[in-house]
C-alpha cells in the first residue's frame, strides 16, 4: 500500500516554514510497511485544496491531510475534503457541547466560528484531540471503485503526533497488510562520505533486499539499513547481517549502532571508566563544552573548561607559557598540547582536551590557512595531538573540530 501527505496552510508556502510534519508521518508510515509516494503543500484556498485532494484520491491508497482544521475562515480542510469525496458534512452536537464546555472551563464564551470544528465528514470517525480544539477524522471506504483511507490531522506538530499515536497508528495497522520493517543505523566518525561508500558499497550492494541510505554531516556519517520481512526477527536478522559486515570493514570508526549520538557515547564510556574530562577551547569557542553538556547528567563526567580566545587567558586558565605562544603561535601543535595538559592539571580531570585553530573566514595565512585545527587529548598515558585541515565555512569547521575532539576521547576509552 502507498500513501501521500498533504500539508495545508498558506504559511507553509512562505520562505520561512518547512513542512516537518511529513517527516514524522513518513517515518511512521514506513514502519507500518507503507511507502510515501507523494507530498504536497497547498495554501488555504478551497479550489486548490479540492484539486489536490482529488489528485491524491486518484493516486494513493492512503491520504493524510494535516492542517486547516481550526476555527478561522481560513480553515477549509473539512469543506474541501467533503467536496473532493462528494460527501456531506454534519455538525456533531456532542463535539459542539465539548467545545462549549472547554471554553466555559476557561471562563470564556465560545464564539460561533468555533462550531465549525464540529463538522464531520459523512461516514467518518471522529478522532479526539487531547491537546487542542480541532478533532481529527478517519474515513475508510470505497471511492470511485477503489479502497481508500483518508485521515485529517491538526497542523501543530505536537497535536498531530499525539493524535497519530493515540488514534491513527492502530487503525492503519489493521488495514495494512502486515509487514515488519527494521532499520539498523550505524554512525561513523571522522571518515569522508565517499571514502566510506567506496569501502562499504561492495558489501551492501550484495544485499539487494536491504535499502541502504547514507547521510553525511560535518565529520559524522550515518548508514541506515532498512529491511522488510514477515517477522520482525527475520527483518532484524537480515539488517544485522549487512550491518555486521560493514562494521567489520569500518572497525572502530563505527561509534554507535543503536542511534546514540557521539556526545552520548562519549558520556557512556566516561561513566563506565569512571573518568572525567575538562576542555580548553580556542577556535571552537565553547562548542565542545556545549555539545558535551547537551547530555543530561553530563555533570557526572564533565568538570568544566575554559574558552581561551585571548592569548592571555590561554596562560591564565590553562597555564600555557606565554613564551611558547610567542615562539610557535597560538595555533600550533605545542599550544594544543599545552592547553590539554594545562586544563587537565587545573581541573584534576582524567582527560584534558585542547583545541586551537583557524575557524575563519578571516585570520588565515599561507602557513596557517583557514580550516587548520590542532586537537590534543592529555591523559596519564601522555598527550596525543592530531592536526587536520577542514573544509567549509566557520560553522562547519567548528563542528568538524569538536567532533574530532569527541572522537579522540572516545578512542582513548575503548
Amino acid at each position: 500500500m502507498n500513501a501521500e501527505i498533504i500539508a495545508v496552510g498558506s504559511e507553509m508556502l512562505t520562505p520561512h516554514r518547512v513542512d516537518t510534519n511529513s517527516l514524522y508521518l513518513t517515518e511512521q508510515l514506513n514502519l507500518l510497511g507503507v511507502d510515501v509516494i507523494f507530498k504536497s503543500i497547498v495554501g488555504d484556498d478551497m479550489r486548490r485544496m479540492v484539486a489536490a485532494a482529488q489528485h491524491g484520491l486518484f493516486r494513493s491508497d492512503i491520504i493524510i491531510v494535516s492542517g486547516g482544521l481550526g476555527p478561522t475562515e481560513d480553515d477549509l480542510t473539512r469543506e474541501a475534503i467533503a467536496e473532493a469525496l462528494g460527501v456531506g458534512l454534519r455538525r456533531d452536537p456532542e463535539i459542539v457541547a465539548k467545545l462549549e464546555q472547554r471554553f466555559a472551563q476557561r471562563g470564556w464564551k465560545m464564539t460561533p466560528n468555533n462550531a465549525k470544528q464540529a463538522d464531520v465528514l459523512e461516514g467518518a470517525t471522529v478522532l479526539p484531540n487531547p491537546n487542542g480544539t480541532a478533532s481529527g477524522q478517519w474515513l475508510s471506504g470505497q471511492f470511485e471503485g477503489r479502497e481508500r483511507i483518508v485521515v485529517l490531522l491538526p497542523g501543530p506538530p505536537h497535536e498531530m503526533k499525539a493524535l497519530f499515536e493515540s488514534e491513527v497508528r492502530e487503525r492503519l495497522r489493521e488495514k495494512v497488510p502486515p509487514a515488519h520493517l527494521f532499520t539498523r543505523t550505524l554512525k561513523i566518525a571522522m571518515l569522508g562520505e565517499s571514502a566510506v561508500d567506496a569501502r562499504v558499497a561492495p558489501i551492501y550492494k550484495r544485499f539487494s533486499d536491504v535499502e541502504t541510505t547514507i547521510l553525511a554531516g560535518a565529520g559524522e556519517i550515518e548508514l541506515h539499513f532498512k529491511t522488510r520481512a514477515a517477522t520482525l526477527e527475520q527483518a532484524q536478522e537480515r539488517a544485522d547481517e549487512v550491518a555486521g559486515l560493514v562494521e567489520d570493514e569500518l572497525d572502530d570508526a563505527v561509534y554507535s549502532r543503536n542511534g546514540e549520538s557521539l556526545e552520548q557515547i562519549v558520556g557512556y564510556w566516561l561513566q563506565m571508566r569512571n573518568a572525567t574530562v575538562a576542555v580548553a577551547e580556542s577556535c571552537t569557542g565553547g562548542l565542545l563544552a556545549e555539545r558535551i553538556t547537551s547530555i543530561s547528567g553530563s555533570s557526572r563526567y564533565f568538570l568544566g573548561g575554559a574558552v581561551v580566545y585571548s592569548n592571555n587567558l590561554k596562560t591564565e586558565f590553562a597555564g600555557v607559557p606565554a613564551d611558547m605562544i610567542e615562539r610557535y603561535g597560538a595555533v600550533s601543535r605545542e599550544v594544543a598540547a599545552a592547553l590539554a595538559e594545562g586544563i587537565r592539571y587545573r581541573c584534576e580531570s582524567t582527560f584534558g582536551v585542547g583545541i586551537t585553530g583557524v575557524a575563519g573566514p578571516g585570520g588565515g595565512s599561507v602557513e596557517k590557512p583557514v580550516g587548520l585545527v590542532y586537537h590534543a587529548v592529555a591523559s596519564d598515558s601522555g598527550t596525543e595531538v592530531i592536526q587536520r585541515n577542514f573544509p567549509g565555512d566557520r560553522k562547519r569547521i567548528r563542528r568538524f573540530a569538536s567532533t574530532m575532539a569527541l572522537d579522540m576521547i572516545r578512542k582513548k576509552l575503548m
Copy 2:
C-alpha cells in the same frame, strides 16, 4: 503571476530529507512579486512525474522543477516534462561535446549514460551549470492556450542557487509584471509571542496592505512586514510606517531592524563602546560562549570564559567562595553575581557574565525547579541579576538562558 515548485527525487520522500530548495526559490520568487501557490515532492517515477507536471501546467503560470537532471536511470525529469508538455527532446551535440571535454579534463572517458544530460526540450533554452554536469532548461510559451514558463533546475542546492542567480532571475524579471516588494524585519528579545502580538496586532491590523508574519523561537521573535508597490521607495516607506509604530510600542525590546542576529548586535555594540566581555557559565555549558564566538571577528571583544560545571571550578576559575556555594546553593542569585564578578576580575573585561540554573530534565526540586536560571552581568556600575523560570526541555532552557544573557549585555551598552 503565480508559481509552483516541484521537487523531484525519491530520497526526498524518506523521513530524513526535507526540501529546502523550495524555501530559497520561494524567497526569490516573492522578491519578484510572484506568489508560490503550491509545492510538491514526487519520487523518481515517470508516470507520477508526468501527472504532477500536468497538474502544475493547469494550475500555475510558472512551474519550477528541481532535481532529476543527472545521468542515472532514475533521472527522468527531462523525459517527464517533455511528455507532460507534449514536446520532443533533441540531443544537443554541443552539450555532448562539452560533457566529453569535462570528463577528458579529469582523465576519464565519459560513460554513455551521461549523454542523456544533453537532451533538450523542443523550444527550450539551455541554462549552463557552472558547478555540475546537469544543465538547466528554460521554456516559455503557450500551453493549451495559456502562457506558461517552465524552468528545470538541478537538485543540489549550490548548483540550483548559482544557476537561478545567473540564468533564471533576470529572465523571470522580464516576464513578470513589475512589482516591488520590500520586507522590513524587526527582531525582539525576551518577550512572549502572545504578549508581543497583543501589543502590536492593533497596529499592524490597520495596515491591511502590509503582510505581517510573526516567527517565534526560544526568547526571540521576528516580525516581518511585507509590502508591494509600484516603486521600491513606496514599498519601503509603507513597510517602515508600520514598523516604526511597532518599534515605538515595543521600545528597546527591538534589537534589530536589518536582519542582524542578537549575537551580531551585541558584537557591534561591544566594538562601538570599545568594550570586552568574559563569561562564566554553568547550566548553559558553553552555549553562550559558542554563540558569541559564532561571529567572525569576535576575538576583538570576546576574551574568553569558563564553563564551571563542578562547584570546585566555580571557585577555581571564577573565584566564587566555597562557603557561598555551601550556603546559598550553586543555583542562586548570589553565585550568579559572584560568577559574573569573578570572571570579570580574572579576565579584566569590561563586562562579566555569570549564568547558573537547572537545565533539567533531572536535578530539579520544589524550591529550585527545572527551568530556574539566574543571569548576572557585572560591570563598573555594579552587578545586575535577573531570575527567570523558563519552560521547555533542556535544549530550550539553555537557549532561553543564553539569549537572556546576550540581551542583558545589549541593554547595558545602549
